[in-house]
């Protein structure tokens, strides 16, 4: 072997191996190399402006405002004139040191917020001086602004995306904002717009050294879309004022479209509380209040027994099923006996003893006996209570009761409309109409939310159909065209059966339980309700003060507004819910309260149920400690 060949061989072999390795690295692995996704390129998001929100008349409800935060990066801070700096920021030295240490604890090499949300005039002055203080700088942020302090429950609020969502989501990054409740949450996709992206070159010290390929891959942000709500903010504000000092909800709909005109929950809060410097303090106050629950939307989520308004439902089903006719009469002897034992007797307050009562009178005077008879006839029509009840259930649920209505707000409850299976389970097949006779008057197992009841009223006003309630009217100046909200839904009741019921509801405000709240010139049709409610205290069922309920629509022909009012523990429907309803209707239809009804307005505005709630408190607290 020639000796020189050995070195030739090794050099050549090395060359082949190296070039092979380079091929593997640069040709094979190089093809998979993602030039945008590595340490040398920094991706920055450019945030669009969030969409504005207006009411149905174009009044601005939610806007954006610029806020300036003073930021600090501790490792860049040089010795400064602390005294002067504190004066600039209007804080004392102790506060300065506290905040600075907090920033240091977070990270010395990363910027963090030093002072949140400067006032505008402070910002202008500070900006000129700030260059003297190395390590401090100002960051612009965009926050929400609510020119009108109302409808917090409808609008919702925005907050930082939670950690888990940020991790899973393709769109959100940690620390970004999203709608957390109400319209802000439901219409997040429209309101947020689309983030732009900017690619920057950076070096090993994480310092940006310029744009990446002259911004070739950068994208511009797309601003969020403006929303126009169906809400009438004046009506909303007025209704909120009326509910001051009470707990409950008001839901007002436009029957001809299903648009939500007002959605009130009481107590509520000023939406500006969840913006700005006081935000974290306020959110503790709001979210931790388990007694008043100001962030809980009673209009959408509170389930109550519907009470007497549910009698209209049984009347309608009775008419449809030929259980009764509009001329049917029943005699009331101060109540309805559904069993042979002493206590199996439902008392009635219609005060018409021993005379046959017509349907109209039964509704206007809220006769329990009449509807108990009707209900029994419906359920036991073919001597098969299960089938009868299932049939009854079919009719009731066609009004949107017993299930989520499908409105465009993120909270709600199903309520409960029982069917045959429900009682089969509960009573092991041994039951009949008498077992659940309370359903006749909306008191038994039946549970509804105020918005369901308002929708039920709208369906009556429309004589047999309804539009799913919704809160958004226009997106980006285009009317919504989701068929869910634009196509009417028919109930299972023929429209001819509505007239006698509507006549009777009209009678309520003429001569019946609502007569004290009638308004001259407006034909209101409605029904008061007084729902009994119970709670368990130390294992005993204890009765609390009744809920005051009213459903109504007006005017009788071509109804413009349908609403449901619930006042928790407010007593009779006629004493609180009725005057509030009539005020809301008058305000909406006439734009103002006439002089002769001012006393009524005065009364309702000043009425506070705080004392009642204070009395209830120990009972409820008892209950809560027991549950724990």
């Amino acid at each position: 072997m020639q000796r020189s060949l050995l070195l030739y061989f090794f050099v050549g072999l090395t060359g082949v191996i190296f070039i092979g390795r380079l091929f593997q690295l640069q040709i094979i692995r190089g093809a998979q190399y993602d030039e945008m996704n590595n340490a040398t390129v920094k991706t920055e998001f450019v945030y669009p402006e969030r969409g504005y929100i207006y009411d149905r008349n174009g009044k601005l409800l939610v806007a954006n405002q610029v806020s300036y935060d003073v930021m600090v990066q501790p490792n860049r801070v040089k010795t400064i004139d602390t005294l002067e700096f504190c004066k600039l920021l209007k804080i004392d030295k102790e506060e300065f040191l506290k905040r600075f240490r907090k920033a240091e604890r977070y990270a010395t090499y990363l910027p963090s917020v030093f002072l949140k949300q400067l006032a505008k005039e402070d910002f202008a002055y500070l900006q000129e001086k700030l260059h003297k203080y190395q390590g401090f700088f100002i960051q612009k942020r965009i926050i929400r602004n609510y020119p009108i302090k109302a409808a917090a429950n409808v609008l919702g609020y925005i907050g930082e995306v939670n950690e888990e969502k940020a991790r899973k989501s393709k769109y959100y990054q940690q620390g970004e904002l999203e709608g957390k409740d109400g319209v802000e949450r439901q219409y997040e996709q429209f309101l947020r717009g689309k983030k732009g992206k900017r690619y920057l070159r950076r070096n090993n010290l994480n310092r940006v050294t310029g744009s990446y390929k002259n911004g070739m891959y950068d994208t511009l942000p797309v601003n969020g879309k403006d929303l126009k709500l169906t809400l009438d903010i004046e009506l909303q504000q007025y209704a909120q004022k009326l509910m001051k000092g009470k707990r409950g909800g008001i839901v007002a709909l436009e029957p001809s479209s299903g648009e939500i005109l007002a959605l009130v929950t009481a107590p509520s809060y000023d939406p500006n509380m969840l913006v700005g410097r006081q935000r974290s303090r306020n959110s503790v106050i709001l979210f931790k209040d388990s007694i008043n629950k100001p962030t809980y939307d009673r209009g959408l989520s509170a389930v109550y027994p519907p009470g007497s308004p549910f009698k209209m439902m049984n009347a309608l089903i009775g008419l449809q099923e030929n259980a009764i006719t509009e001329y049917s009469r029943f005699t009331c002897y101060g109540g309805y006996r559904y069993g042979n034992r002493e206590h199996e007797f439902m008392r009635c307050h219609c005060d018409i003893y021993g005379r046959p009562i017509s349907l109209k009178t039964a509704i206007s005077r809220s006769c329990n006996s009449y509807f108990s008879n009707t209900y029994k006839r419906i359920v036991e029509k073919d001597n098969d209570p299960k089938e009868g009840l299932n049939n009854w259930n079919k009719h009731v649920t066609s009004f949107g009761l017993g299930n989520y209505l499908g409105y465009d707000l993120p909270s709600g409850q199903k309520g409960l409309i029982p069917d045959g299976n429900y009682y089969d389970r509960r009573y092991r097949y041994a039951w009949n109409a008498s077992t659940n006779i309370s359903n006749a008057i909306g008191q038994g197992e039946v549970l509804t939310t105020p918005i369901q009841l308002a929708n039920f009223t709208a369906a009556i006003a429309n004589r047999g159909y309804f539009y799913t309630p919704h809160i958004v009217k226009e997106i980006d100046n285009k009317k919504i065209d989701n068929p869910k909200y634009t196509v009417p839904k028919r109930t299972t009741i023929d429209s001819k059966h509505f007239e006698p019921v509507i006549e009777a509801m009209h009678e309520v405000f003429k001569t019946g339980t609502g007569k004290w709240s009638r308004i001259k010139g407006i034909e209101i049709c409605g029904k008061t309700g007084t729902a009994e409610n119970f709670t368990l205290v130390n294992g005993f069922k204890e009765q609390l003060d009744d809920h005051s309920i009213l459903v109504a629509f007006a005017p009788k022909e071509n109804p413009k507004i349908a609403l449901a009012v619930f006042v928790e523990n407010g007593g009779y429907g006629s004493t609180i819910a009725a005057p509030i309803t009539s005020l809301v209707i008058e305000k909406y239809l006439n734009g103002e309260i006439s002089a002769r009804n001012k006393y009524r307005e005065e009364q309702m505005l000043n009425l506070s149920l705080e004392e009642v709630y204070q009395k209830l408190l120990p009972k409820i607290e008892d209950l809560e400690t027991r549950e724990e």
Partner: protein
Amino acid sequence: MRQEKNNIFADVDWLLIFIYIILIGFGWMNIYAASKTAEVNDVFNFTTKYGKQMIWIALCIPVIVTVLFFNSKFYEQFASILYFIAVLSLLLLFVFGKEINGAKSWFNFGVMGLQPSEFAKSCTALAVAKLMSDRLYNLDLIKNQIKAFIIIFLPAFLILLQPDAGSALIYFSFFFVLNREGLTIRYILLGIGLILGFLLTILYGKTITIISLLVVLTLFIGLMVYQQGSRFLRFQWYKVILSYILVAGYIFVVNFTYNSVFKQHHRDRFEVLLGLKVDTKNIGYNTYQSELTISSGGAWGKGFLKGDITQGNFVPEQHTDYIFSTVGEEWGFLGSTLVIVLFIALIYRIIALAETNPNKFGRIYGYGVASILFFHLFVNVGMVIGLLPTVGIPLPFISYGGSSLWGFTILLFIFIRLDAHKSYDW
């Protein structure tokens, strides 16, 4: 004896000089790319790395002229003295050396430093050539082998004490020279065997390695017995037993050294390289980053000064030991392959010229030059492309640094001088 021509560039090998100029020029461009910043990037700024390198490149001209000025006989006659000076300077380092990064490898002359180990390579090559070109020198004699080993490993040992293991490692390249002059290839095979045993022990642990090696050895002996009959065992039995003991003993020693003598950071380097540990942040960071940088270049590269990983200074020591990653990123597969091909051409040309040199001294020296350049290429590029563990030695002519540039220039041009002389009678 005829007079040499007065022109010092007469009969020099222009191909070598051509490749040399291309490598140095291309090297400087990559140093510029790796060390310029957004703020400081004017070419004639001599406070920067690339500015200083430019001065050292310019100073190569007087160095080359000086090297070529001397008669080729001079190098043969003064080889011993040059070697002595080199060893002396390595010794003086322990007294006057300046400690940088924990190693006393530098003399500090204020404005600049000199690294004697970069020059000692040429001197050792000269000394080896001088020793072995003697007519009476016969490498078959153990005594002569030892002489050669002493000459080679004395500077290596001194460099190892600095400590600069990478530069010391280079002296193993002289095995090629010794082999060319008659030393049996078994030394190289032995070396490869030892490295293999080492790697197997790390990878699979001592027990499995010993058992499998002994099985292989037994099979080999079985083959010998099958070929030569039972007399093989009768005459060679002591060798058989000895080989069993040596193999097992070596693995034990390796195992002990690796686990008890090596420090954790040594072990980490091996484990990351062998894929036993995935690490992109700490010790593995250099290799990971340099592989990524090279991969990102793709086939055609991102273009001069357009390698964003290089421009962002993500690769540590990129202008010195990791300069090849700059080539990979900005010039792609095309550029990096070209550099490899240029080096191979350079080394092949040196071997070819050395082989044709009628003078034994010139031939042996030429072999030394080729071996040294090859070893540098092998270790440096192997490290940068992630095939070898991290060993800090420069890529000849391309890496930043005055001492290494001058050292390699002197190394190469002494050869060019010796080669130019061969057309004359000795």
